[in-house]
C-alpha cells in the first residue's frame, strides 16, 4: 500500500486493569478533522484538538491534545419498566460548523443530546458595581464611572447541553445520522427509526416501524441507519439478517416499504446454524461520494453500488480464519461483537477492526490489504507499523501469530479516518491510538 503508517500518539491509562467506565464506545472526527471526539461507557465525552502545524517540524502533522471533556449522559432508572438505562455513549455525530462554536449530537440507549462546545478567551473587567472577584460594591462608594472592557484570559472551553431529545425510543438507540439539510437528523433503535428537527425536542416523526403486531413473529431487527451524504430524502438501514433497505422520504410519510432492498443471495449448501448470526450487519456507511455504501458483518466488509441491489460489488475478508472457530466464538459471545468500518477521505481505502488489537485496511484500487496492530510496543513517534499476519493452519512462519494465540478480549470495534488526511484514530478497549502516514 502506498501509505506507510506510523505511530503518532496513544491516549489512556497504561494499566491492564480496565474500569468498565473507561471502555471506549465511539470515535468520530468532525468535518474538518481538526477535532476528534470519543465517548465511553461511563457516559463521558473527550474531545481532542489538532495542534496547528509546526512550521519547523514539517515531517509531522499536528498532534491531538485534549480540548474539552464533559459528562454527556448519566445512568438512569426507568421505573415503569424496571430497567436500568446505561449511560454508555453509543454514537457521536458532529454538526458542520456554522459559527465560532462546535456542535455535536451524542446518544445513549434512550436519549439524544445536542452539545455546544464554545471557547471563551476574553472576560469583561472594570465593572462599576462589581469587584473583580464578583462581590458587589456599595453604590454609595462609587465616585467615578468607567467603561468595562474585555481583556484576554486563558482559553476556556465550555460544553453545554442545548437540546435534549428524549422519550422517543422504546428500544435501544443504535444509530444517529445528521441529514445533509443540516436541519434534521434520524435516530434508529432495534425496531424503529425517528426523524427529528434539531430545533424541536418535544416532537419527532416515526419514519420506519418494523415492529410486528405479534412479537412472536419478530424475525429481524434494525442494526444501523444512515442518511445519504447528498440526497436529503434518502437514508438506509441495515438488519440482523444481512439486508440493507434504502428508503426515500418523498415516497410516503412512513417508509416501511423500501425503495431498494440490497441482499446477497445465500448459497443454500453453505447454510449453518451460524449463517444468520454472522450475516448480521453491524455497521453501514455511505462513501463520501454517495455512490457506494459499505457494510460490515462478522467476517467481512462489503461494498455495494447503490445502483445494484442483488449483490455487493466488492467483498473483503476481514478474518476468514475465524470461520472454523465459530463454535467457541458463539460460546464466548464474541460472535455478537459489533465491528464498525470507515472510508478514507477519497473513498479508495476502507478500514475495520478485528481481534488481538489488529485492524485491517483494504485498498479498493490495488486490491491489496494490510493488517496492523495497535500496541504500545513500538510507541515512539514516527515508528513505522509492522504488518501482521495470522497463520490459519499448518506451520506457523516466523513473525506470524496462530489463530489460537489471538486475544479475543482485545477487540478493535471503533475506528475513524480523518476526512482529508491520512490520519486514523483506532480505539482499543480503553486506549485511543492515533496513526499517521510517514511524510518524506
Amino acid at each position: 500500500m502506498a501509505v506507510i503508517w506510523c505511530f503518532s500518539q496513544v491516549k489512556g491509562a497504561v494499566d491492564d486493569d480496565v474500569a468498565e467506565a473507561d471502555i471506549i464506545s465511539t470515535v468520530e472526527f468532525n468535518h474538518s478533522g481538526e477535532l476528534l471526539a470519543t465517548g465511553d461507557k461511563g457516559g463521558r465525552v473527550v474531545i481532542f484538538q489538532q495542534e496547528q502545524e509546526n512550521k519547523t517540524q514539517s515531517h509531522s502533522r499536528g498532534e491531538y491534545n485534549v480540548y474539552s471533556t464533559f459528562q454527556s449522559h448519566e445512568p438512569e432508572f426507568d421505573y415503569l419498566k424496571s430497567l436500568e438505562i446505561e449511560e454508555k455513549i453509543n454514537k457521536i455525530r458532529w454538526l458542520p460548523q456554522k459559527n465560532a462554536a462546535q456542535f455535536l449530537l451524542s446518544t445513549n440507549d434512550k436519549t439524544i443530546k445536542l452539545w455546544k462546545i464554545s471557547e471563551r478567551d476574553k472576560r469583561p473587567e472594570g465593572y462599576n458595581l462589581k469587584e473583580e472577584d464578583g462581590r458587589y460594591r456599595d453604590p454609595t462608594t462609587v465616585t467615578t464611572l468607567r467603561v468595562p472592557v474585555f481583556r484576554p484570559m486563558d482559553l476556556m472551553v465550555e460544553a453545554s447541553p442545548r437540546r435534549i431529545f428524549a422519550n422517543a425510543h422504546t428500544y435501544h438507540i443504535n444509530s444517529i445520522s445528521i441529514n445533509s439539510d443540516y436541519e434534521t437528523y434520524l435516530s434508529a433503535d432495534d425496531l424503529r427509526i425517528n426523524l427529528w428537527h434539531l430545533e424541536i425536542t418535544d416532537r419527532s416523526f416515526n419514519i420506519v416501524d418494523i415492529k410486528p403486531a405479534n412479537m412472536e413473529e419478530l424475525t429481524e431487527v434494525i442494526t444501523a441507519a444512515e442518511f445519504h451524504p447528498n440526497s436529503c430524502n434518502t437514508f438506509v438501514y441495515s438488519s440482523s439478517k444481512g439486508t440493507i433497505r434504502l428508503c426515500d422520504m418523498r415516497a410516503s410519510a412512513l417508509c416501511d416499504r423500501h425503495s431498494k432492498l440490497f441482499e446477497e443471495p445465500e448459497d443454500p449448501s453453505n447454510r449453518s446454524f451460524f449463517s444468520e448470526i454472522i450475516s448480521s450487519i453491524s455497521d453501514v456507511k455511505f462513501s463520501h461520494s454517495g455512490r457506494y455504501m459499505m457494510t460490515r458483518d462478522y467476517l467481512s466488509v462489503k461494498i455495494w453500488d447503490l445502483n445494484m441491489e442483488n449483490r455487493p460489488v466488492e467483498t473483503y475478508q476481514v478474518h476468514e480464519y475465524l470461520r472454523s472457530k465459530l463454535c467457541s466464538l458463539y460460546e464466548n459471545d464474541c460472535i455478537f461483537d459489533k465491528f464498525e468500518c470507515c472510508w478514507n477521505g477519497s473513498d479508495s481505502i476502507v478500514m475495520t477492526g478485528s481481534y488481538n488489537n489488529f485492524f485491517r485496511m483494504f485498498d479498493r484500487n490495488t486490491k491489496r490489504d494490510i493488517t496492523l496492530e495497535a500496541s504500545r510496543e513500538n510507541n515512539k513517534p514516527r515508528t513505522v507499523l509492522k504488518p501482521r499476519k495470522v497463520c490459519a493452519s499448518g506451520k506457523r512462519k516466523k513473525d506470524e501469530i496462530s489463530v489460537d494465540s489471538l486475544d479475543f478480549n482485545k477487540k478493535i470495534l471503533h475506528t475513524a479516518w480523518h476526512p482529508k488526511e491520512n490520519i486514523i484514530a483506532v480505539a482499543t478497549t480503553n486506549n485511543l491510538y492515533i496513526f499517521q502516514d510517514k511524510m518524506n
Partner: protein, 120 residues
Amino acid sequence: MAAALGTGGRGQEAGQEKQAMQHKDPIAPERAEELKLKAKYPNLAQKPGGSDFLMKRLQKGYFDSGDYNMAKAKMKNKQLPSAGPDKNLVTGDHIPTPQDLPQRKSSLVTSKLAGTHGQV
C-alpha cells in the same frame, strides 16, 4: 448462551451429516463448527434467529419485569401463608427493588483519555 427451545426438523439433516463424517467427505468449516456446538448443547434451538433470541436482545437491564411484578404482588399480600420458611429468605431468591439498589453514582472521575498519565 444456548436457547432451550427447539422448533423441530433438522434431525434428519444431522443424521446425514454424521454419515458424511464417517465417509470422510469434506465438510464446510461452518458446518463442522455447527456439529461441534450441537454435540455440546443437544437442546440447542434449531434456528438461532427466532423471536425469543431477538427479544432477549431487545431487553437489557437488571430485571426481568415479570419477576419484578410477581415479587411486588407477593409483597402486597404479606398476610398470605407462604409455603416455605419465609423468615429465612435465601439471598438468591430475593428480588431487588429500585430502593434496594445502591445508588449508581455517575462517573464523577474525569476520563483517563483526558489525563496525562500514559499519554504519548
